[in-house]
């Protein structure tokens, strides 16, 4: 068993310095963020901004009208979408579609199944969302995104360090270990560290960065222990439901700190799995953006 360690900044730097030409997120995201900082911004103003990009607009409307949200009436304008689902929800939808868009362009190396990967990511997002709802959180989209992006480091490695990543995939295949263990052995850093670094580079919120960077070591997440713990367990739930694959066939080790931080009992698993499975099925609408 390998206890996930926090790599020294040097080790991480040595790896990520070799990652070149990373995609960027659309400027619209930072514009939305800037608008939302001002409390007097109206839904109409945000909607005008989003509507300036027809591709994003159509994706947002596609998602808000999907069974993932299941709103009983058709939502035909972005303004309606913002008012009905809330400012944060729409920002999260824009963010997630943008991320799919950015990563879709990167070329997959051999031996790593992107379709299964995204299904696992969406499943983890859905399960994290279910967990967050059970724990009484209201900003559920943040947790969906955190789950969705928890393994984004694997995509970065796959696309930008394909030779190293091919070794990782080969090691997983040979010794039937987890990706985490193989990455630590091959690279000295793992996909969680790389994912956290990427999200930080994209200027996403510290909560999101910590939840992704610490999803295998929630105890090190500091004040964001709970979000990291939610993604940690969300990942377990998605694996138990066998939704897609993160690239390995083994369960990672449960963090006791994470489990006790959530304060739920093991008897809630049947209900969590049932809800997670339903939610994941509805969330598969995002899969089209990954193609």
């Amino acid at each position: 068993m390998t206890i996930p360690s926090s790599p020294g900044p040097d080790r991480l730097r040595r790896v990520v310095d070799r990652i070149q030409g990373l995609p960027t997120l659309p400027a619209m995201l930072s514009s939305i963020n800037r608008l939302m900082v001002n409390p007097r911004t109206s839904a109409k103003e945000i909607a005008q901004l989003i509507s300036s990009d027809p591709a994003i607009t159509s994706k947002v409307l596609r998602v808000v009208n999907s069974s993932f949200y299941g709103f009983p009436n058709r939502i035909s304008t972005v303004t309606h979408a913002i008012v009905i689902l809330g400012f944060n929800t729409i920002r999260s939808i824009v963010l997630s579609t943008s991320i799919f868009d950015a990563l879709r362009k990167s070329q997959p190396a051999h031996g790593f199944d992107r379709a299964a990967f995204w299904r696992h990511s969406i499943g983890t997002g859905a399960c994290s969302r279910v967990l967050a709802r059970k724990l009484g959180y209201t900003a559920l989209e943040e947790f969906f995104i955190a789950g969705l992006l928890h393994d984004v480091g694997k995509i970065a490695l796959d696309s930008y360090l394909p030779e190293d990543f091919a070794k990782v995939v080969a090691k997983v295949k040979d010794s039937d270990c987890t990706m985490l263990v193989a990455e630590e052995a091959v690279l000295g850093v793992n996909h969680a560290d790389v994912g956290g670094w990427l999200l930080q580079k994209w200027s996403l919120s510290q909560g999101l960065v910590d939840a992704v960077a610490r999803h295998h070591s929630p105890a090190l997440a500091g004040e964001n222990l709970k979000p990291a713990a939610i993604v940690h367990v969300g990942d377990m739930l998605a694996r138990a439901l066998q939704i897609g694959s993160g690239g390995d066939r083994r369960m990672p080790v449960l963090s006791e700190e994470a489990w006790s931080a959530l304060g739920i009992g093991a008897d809630s698993f049947p209900a969590l799995l049932a809800e997670g499975s339903d939610e994941a099925e509805r969330a598969m609408v995002f899969l089209e953006f990954a193609r």
Partner: protein
Amino acid sequence: MPLYPIDKVAPGMRTATPVVDAGGMLLVREGAEITAEILERLRSRKIPAVDILVGGGQPPSGTPLSVTDPDAALAALAHAFESVNGNPVMKALYEAASERIRAGRRP
């Protein structure tokens, strides 16, 4: 992966990609074997065509099989949990998940 028009899709074929309907609802997971029941569902949702896996190739390595067969799913689950079942919480998760498979409630 060839795109088969729905009237050329037959039971026994395997999907190459997940099939999602116009509302974003997942109808069939990728790698799933088409059964008469699934075919009926695809037709009723007006799915025009399906990506079909040719050559009966296995999914890429490292990917758990997209198992429709409960026995294979149970075996994959048992394998995944093998090394962590000493933890009572993980054991409970394992049991809850296998119970779902046994009860036929598959994602």
